[in-house]
C-alpha cells in the first residue's frame, strides 16, 4: 500500500500538465570486496543503486521535494552478515519510509524515501518542513557543529546522507548572514534536537555560533571558514553537558568503562587546512580532538561513540589527504586517518575517471593497520569499484 502511494507521488508530475517540476538522479553499480575481521570469508557484493530526485514548484516560492533511493544487493554479505538490513538502513524516529522489496538468499532489495519536505521562501525568510538534510559545519571531514547528521567520508557511496525529520526556519539578515532555528522532534525526550545557529561574516571569514540541546544535553559551539593567504583555513569547536547527563548506553564489554559514565564537560575541536598548487596538486589536513575519546581500546567503542554524538571513538584523530589530476579527466587521491594513541590507521587510495559525459568510474580501497582492539584495526580491508551514470 505504502509503495503504491510512493509510486503515485512519483508519477504525479508526469500526469498533471502544467506542473513546474525538475527531476534528476543517478544509477550506480558498486562492486565491493571486503575482508572483515569477524568473518572468515572474503565478502564479494554487487549493488545496484538508483536515486530519483523530484522537486515540484507549486509557486515560485513554494516547492515540494521527494527523493527516493532504490538499492538492490546481491552477494555474500546479504547471507553472511547478521542484521544486514539494520546495517544498511537508517533508523528514523517516526517512520522509516522504507520498504523491503525482495529478500531471497543472496538478494536483497530496499526502497526508501530520504527526502520529503515542503519549502517556502519569502524575501527575508525560509521555512522547510519534513524529511530534509540540515548540513552545518565548515570542515571537510569532521563536522562537530552538525547536530543533525554529520557526514562520514568513509561512507562515500551515500554522500547525501539520511535526512532529518525536522522543521527549519531561516531568517536572512544580510547577503552572508542569517539566523536559523531547527527542531527535530522525537517520541522520546532523549532523542530530540533543537538548535539555534547564527551565521555571520567578518573580513574574509564566515562565522557560525551555535546553541542548542541534543539528546538531553545542552551544547554550544562556533565554527569559522576563511583564508590564510591563499590557503583554506577552517575549524569548529563545541562544548556540551557531560555524557553522563545524556542517554545511557552500556559499555562495549563489561570490563571496560562506559563512555556515558563520563562526568566531565564534553569538549570537541576541529582544525582544517587545504591548499591547491597551480599544477593541481592538492593538500588537505585535519585534526579532531574529543575530550571524551578513548586512548585505548577505541575499536570496541565505535558503536557507543556514534550513539554518544562523537564522530570518532578516539581522543585524537588525524586526517591527511593528497590529490592530483593525472589527466584532465582523471584524478588520483589518497587520504589517511591516523590515531596517534593506538597507532592504528586507514589508508584510502582512489582514482576517479570521467569516462564519458555523465559517466564516472571510481575505484577506492581501504587498507587498515593496527591491533584488533585499536580504532582502525577493528575495521576491515576493502576495495570498491563504482560506475555512475547521472541524469
Amino acid at each position: 500500500m505504502r509503495l503504491k502511494i510512493l509510486f503515485f507521488l512519483m508519477i504525479i508530475p508526469f500526469l498533471v500538465k502544467g506542473i513546474d517540476f525538475e527531476t534528476s538522479g543517478y544509477v550506480k553499480y558498486l562492486f565491493s570486496g571486503a575482508k572483515l575481521p569477524f568473518i572468515q570469508k572474503r565478502l564479494n557484493d554487487h549493488l545496484l543503486h538508483a536515486r530519483l530526485n523530484t522537486r515540484w514548484y507549486v509557486t515560485s516560492d513554494l516547492s515540494f521535494s521527494l527523493e527516493t533511493r532504490w538499492r538492490t544487493y546481491y552477494g555474500q554479505s546479504v547471507e553472511d552478515i547478521p542484521d544486514f538490513k539494520e546495517r544498511i538502513t537508517h533508523d528514523y524516529e517516526f517512520s522509516d519510509l522504507g520498504w523491503e522489496l525482495i529478500k531471497k538468499n543472496r538478494l536483497f532489495s530496499f526502497a526508501e524515501i530520504d527526502r520529503l519536505y515542503l519549502d517556502y521562501q519569502a524575501p527575508k525568510w525560509q521555512i522547510t518542513l519534513g524529511r530534509q538534510r540540515i548540513a552545518w559545519g565548515t570542515s571537510l571531514v569532521w563536522n562537530i557543529i552538525d547536530l543533525f547528521n554529520p557526514m562520514s567520508i568513509l561512507d562515500f557511496d551515500y554522500e547525501e546522507r539520511p535526512g532529518s525529520d525536522a522543521v527549519r526556519f531561516q531568517y536572512f539578515t544580510g547577503s552572508l548572514s542569517r539566523i536559523e532555528f531547527a527542531y527535530q522532534p522525537a517520541p522520546s525526550n532523549n532523542k530530540q534536537i533543537f538548535a539555534l545557529l547564527w551565521a555571520t561574516h567578518y573580513g574574509e571569514y564566515d562565522l557560525f555560533f551555535l546553541a542548542g540541546m541534543k539528546h538531553h544535553r545542552k551544547t554550544a559551539g562556533f565554527a569559522w571558514t576563511g583564508y590564510i593567504k591563499d590557503a583554506g583555513f577552517r575549524g569548529e569547536f563545541r562544548v556540551s553537558d557531560p555524557l553522563s547527563e545524556g542517554p545511557q548506553t552500556p559499555a562495549p564489554l563489561p570490563e571496560l568503562p562506559s563512555l556515558t559514565n563520563d562526568k566531565r564537560i564534553s569538549v570537541q575541536g576541529v582544525l582544517s587546512f587545504d591548499y591547491s598548487f597551480p599544477n593541481s596538486f592538492y593538500v588537505h589536513s585535519e585534526l579532531l580532538y574529543n575530550r571524551n575519546g578513548r586512548t585505548r581500546n577505541a575499536g570496541f567503542y565505535q558503536l557507543q561513540a556514534a550513539k554518544a554524538d562523537m564522530l570518532t571513538p578516539a581522543k585524537w584523530s588525524l586526517f591527511q589527504e593528497f590529490a592530483y589530476d593525472f589527466h584532465p579527466l582523471v584524478r588520483g587521491d589518497v587520504f589517511v586517518f591516523y590515531n596517534p594513541d593506538d597507532r592504528s590507521g586507514l589508508i584510502a587510495p582512489s582514482v576517479s575517471w570521467s569516462v564519458f559525459t555523465n559517466v564516472d568510474l571510481y575505484l577506492i580501497g581501504f587498507v587498515i593497520r593496527g591491533k584488533s582492539s585499536s580504532e582502525f584495526g577493528a575495521m576491515g580491508n576493502a576495495g570498491f569499484l563504482r560506475l555512475k551514470y547521472s541524469f
Binding site: Q121, G232, N358
Partner: protein, 259 residues
C-alpha cells in the same frame, strides 16, 4: 573524498566564469585611433551587469566535454553561476563576492567556501590559461597599439591592430594582433605571440548575432598553435546587458534559490 571531487569541479566553474569575463574585457587596449577602435569594440561586449547563458566546450583529439551555465554578474566584483548541464554537475552554484567564493553543492546540501588557491586551475584542460584570465585587466595599461593594416575576416572589413607591451610592463605576451570590424567594431580575431615572436594561440569570433540589443560574435574559439585537434569553444545562447541587479542579489540565500 567524494566531496573533494565536487569541490574540484566547483573551483573550475569559477575559472569558466573568468573565461566569460575575459571576453568582456580582454580587448581593453588604448592608443589614439587604435584606442578608439578598441574601446568601441570593448564597449560592444561589455556591460555593467549582465545575465548570460552559455556553453563551454573543450575539444581534445580523443575526447570532448561541455558545460552549460547561467551567469548573473555585476562588474567587477559579483557573480552567481548556475550549472545547467551536464547532469552530474547540474545545480551546482558558485557565488563570487570580491575575492571570496562559495560553492553550493546540491547533493550534499552544503555550502563550501573555496580558498583562492583552488580557484585558478583550468577546467578539464581548457585552452584558456590562468594568465589569460588573471592578467587581462593589466593589459589596458600594459600595451600600446598600432593600426598595421586592413583585412577581411569572415567577409567583414577589419582593422588589423598590433599590441606591443610597454617596456616596463611584466606581461605574458610578446605581442598580440587583433582584427576589429570597421562597422560595429566587432573583434573577430586575435593572435597571441610569445616574446620570441612565435604564435602561441588564436582566438576567433563568429556567428554574429543581435544579443541583448547589440550585435556581437556569439561563438568564440580559442585554438592553441601546434596542438592538433585541441580547441576550446564558448558559445553564448543569450545575453542581457545592464540588467537591474544590485550587490544584495549576490547572497547565500539566492544561491539556493536561483533557477
Amino acid at each position: 573524498m567524494k566531496k573533494k571531487l565536487f569541490i574540484k569541479q566547483g573551483k573550475s566553474f569559477f575559472l569558466l566564469v573568468m573565461s566569460f569575463m575575459l571576453l568582456n574585457s580582454a580587448f581593453l587596449f588604448a592608443d589614439q585611433k587604435g584606442t578608439e577602435i578598441v574601446r568601441k569594440a570593448n564597449d560592444q561586449l561589455r556591460g555593467k551587469s549582465s545575465i548570460i547563458t552559455a556553453t563551454l566546450t573543450v575539444i581534445k583529439p580523443n575526447w570532448t566535454r561541455s558545460i552549460s551555465m547561467k551567469i548573473w554578474s555585476l562588474e567587477p566584483d559579483y557573480a552567481l553561476i548556475l550549472i545547467t548541464k551536464p547532469a552530474r554537475d547540474k545545480g551546482t552554484i558558485t557565488l563570487k563576492r570580491k575575492r571570496e567564493v562559495w560553492n553550493w553543492l546540491p547533493s550534499i546540501r552544503r555550502m563550501i567556501k573555496i580558498p583562492p588557491s583552488m580557484m585558478l586551475q583550468p577546467w578539464m584542460g581548457s585552452d584558456f590559461t590562468n594568465d589569460d584570465l588573471v592578467r587581462e585587466s593589466s593589459i589596458v595599461e600594459d600595451y600600446t597599439h598600432t593600426i598595421i593594416g586592413e583585412e577581411k575576416i569572415g567577409g567583414y572589413d577589419c582593422y588589423k591592430i598590433r599590441f606591443d607591451p610597454k617596456p616596463e610592463a611584466g606581461v605574458v605576451w610578446g605581442k598580440i594582433i587583433a582584427w576589429i570590424t570597421k562597422k560595429n567594431y566587432l573583434e573577430l580575431k586575435a593572435e597571441y605571440y610569445d616574446e620570441d615572436g612565435q604564435l602561441i594561440k588564436s582566438m576567433l569570433g563568429s556567428k554574429i548575432k543581435k544579443m541583448g540589443g547589440r550585435l556581437i560574435p556569439s561563438y568564440w574559439e580559442m585554438i592553441p598553435q601546434n596542438k592538433k585537434g585541441h580547441k576550446t569553444i564558448i558559445e553564448y545562447h543569450s545575453i542581457k546587458f545592464n540588467v537591474k541587479i544590485d550587490p544584495s542579489f549576490f547572497s547565500q540565500q539566492n544561491m539556493k534559490r536561483i533557477r
